[in-house]
């Protein structure tokens, strides 16, 4: 399954704003391994995405999210279910 382009773009933009400057970010970027996001930063990112898309992301989904693409796909699934 490919993530919706609009969702992927918005997710990437938001992650760029939280990531170290000049960091190259693409669909395969790993939030922890590549960007060194700690739990607080991941929560901040989620809160902003939740507000933007008017959804709630259950914390139980977090272990399945490693990359930018994983995140965009999960958001897409939640949006589609609503």
């Amino acid at each position: 399954m490919q993530p919706n382009k609009d969702i992927l773009t918005q997710v990437t933009e938001l992650i760029k704003s939280l990531a170290p400057e000049h960091q190259d970010i693409n669909e395969a970027t790993d939030l922890v391994a590549d960007l060194d996001f700690d739990s607080l930063k991941v929560m901040k990112l989620l809160e902003e995405l939740e507000d933007r898309f008017d959804i709630s992301v259950p914390l139980n989904l977090l272990p399945s999210i490693r990359t930018v693409e994983d995140l965009a796909l999960q958001l897409q699934r939640i949006i589609d279910e609503e």
């Binding site: 700690d38 739990s39 607080l40 929560m43 809160e47 008017d54 959804i55 709630s56 259950p58 914390l59 139980n60 609503e82």
Partner: protein, 400 residues
């Protein structure tokens, strides 16, 4: 990856802390002198980080009750409540807790952690949703994880965000369990409980309030924030611990829902943990009686809280958002926090060291908790030592 590889990051953090002067993250209380003093590193030390809010750990009545129970019923129950571990003391304490909270039912657990783990994991399950304040205690997060329900976090103390989260759940909101705390353990701030009750009623959700830090601290009778706010009847489940104001160890849940007694038999952490020992139950019962009989302890606690808060505020320190027996000092960096914490200990004051990610918003804290057992002189001593460390010549410098 070897099973121990995941601890490399912890080892690195520990090395960094050691470079800041922290020899050990574990303080050893070599000898307890009173609820508010101990020998630490061979030095007489004021304890200002123990959650011993009413100072009852050395209460003669509690100690006598525990000793009597030891002699009469032995050192332990050697079994769970569902097997051989229910003694008359456990049943009596449950009745006394129900009476104290003016609820129909109460269950006693072996720890506060087990109370949260057991109640949350039993009340909700796969397909349900549990909506928790972001700053909730680890035991609440762990209970949610064990439940396998959908865990939704709302922004700390933000009823509007809670409203949004429940709205997004649609029909599932009526079956959702909302969880907040009475007093939050790190910054000592209260939940806006009246507003939270309004929101949960709008959606028909259930509400659990963890009064771990507010039992004996808030309310005219010391029942906690639900009593202080006047919404106790709207709270479905009150959870708490015996390990703070009651000076022992254990946990409880009180509720008016008749199903609470059934929940007992589906509650795996309750069913598969040995029950509290008779001496713990006996001292807890006595402490609860003392809490009810001596409201002056709560008044003294609050006098101490106000006194320390104002003294530290006058020093220009950045404190938690409201006055409470938890007085948290926001620090500029983890390194500075460790240095100050070590310096306080060297000068005979023990407080709690809180470093990210354990702190609520990523900052570092020095966390004090006041006790009714502190004398005004001890509170002044604590504040004086903080003041001395603010002097330019005395400020603990970098150790690396």
């Amino acid at each position: 990856m070897a099973i121990f590889d995941k601890f490399k990051q912890l080892a690195a953090t520990r090395r960094t802390l050691a470079q800041c002067g922290l020899a050990s993250v574990n303080v050893v209380m070599e000898k307890l002198l009173s609820p508010t003093e101990a020998i630490v590193n061979g030095r007489r030390t004021i304890l200002a980080g123990t959650n011993n809010y009413l100072g009852l750990t050395f209460d003669p009545g509690c100690i006598d009750a525990a000793c009597r129970a030891l002699h009469e019923s032995g050192t332990g129950t050697t079994g769970s409540r569902a097997a051989n571990g229910t003694y008359s003391g456990h049943v009596a304490l449950e009745k006394e807790l129900a009476d104290f909270f003016d609820c129909r039912h109460a269950i006693v657990f072996s720890t506060g952690y087990v109370a949260n783990l057991g109640m949350i994991a039993t009340l909700v399950g796969p397909g349900d949703a549990v909506v928790i304040d972001a700053d909730c205690h680890a035991s609440i997060y762990d209970g949610c994880t064990l439940s396998r329900a959908d865990i939704i976090r709302f922004r700390h103390n933000d009823p509007a965000d809670l409203d949004k989260r429940l709205r997004r759940l649609g029909d599932r909101a009526a079956n959702a369990l909302v969880i907040v705390e009475g007093l939050y353990s790190m910054l000592g701030d209260r939940a806006p409980l009246a507003e939270i009750v309004t929101v949960k009623k709008r959606y028909g959700a259930y509400l659990m309030v963890d009064e771990a830090h507010s039992l004996g601290v808030l309310g005219d009778h010391g029942r906690g924030l639900a009593e202080e706010t006047g919404v106790a009847r709207e709270v479905d489940f009150i959870i708490g611990t015996f390990s703070k104001s009651l000076g022992a160890i254990g946990g409880y849940c009180a509720s008016n829902h008749p199903e609470l007694d059934l929940i007992r038999f589906a509650n795996r952490p309750y069913l598969f943990t040995a029950s509290p020992s008779p001496s713990v139950i006996a001292s807890t019962r006595q402490a609860l009686a003392t809490l009810r009989a001596r409201p002056e302890l709560r008044l003294r606690l609050w006098e101490n809280a106000h006194h320390l808060y104002h003294r530290l505020q006058d020093l220009g320190l950045t404190l938690g958002p409201e006055i409470s027996p938890i007085v948290a000092i926001r620090m500029n960096s983890p390194e500075e926090t460790v240095r100050q914490w070590c310096a306080l200990l060297e000068r005979g004051v023990y407080v709690n060291l809180v470093l990210p990610p354990a702190s609520p918003d990523g900052g570092a804290l020095l966390r004090c908790s006041m006790s009714a057992g502190h004398t005004p002189e001890q509170v002044d001593q604590i504040a004086d030592i903080f003041a001395a460390l603010q002097e330019p010549g005395n400020a603990p410098g970098p150790m690396v």
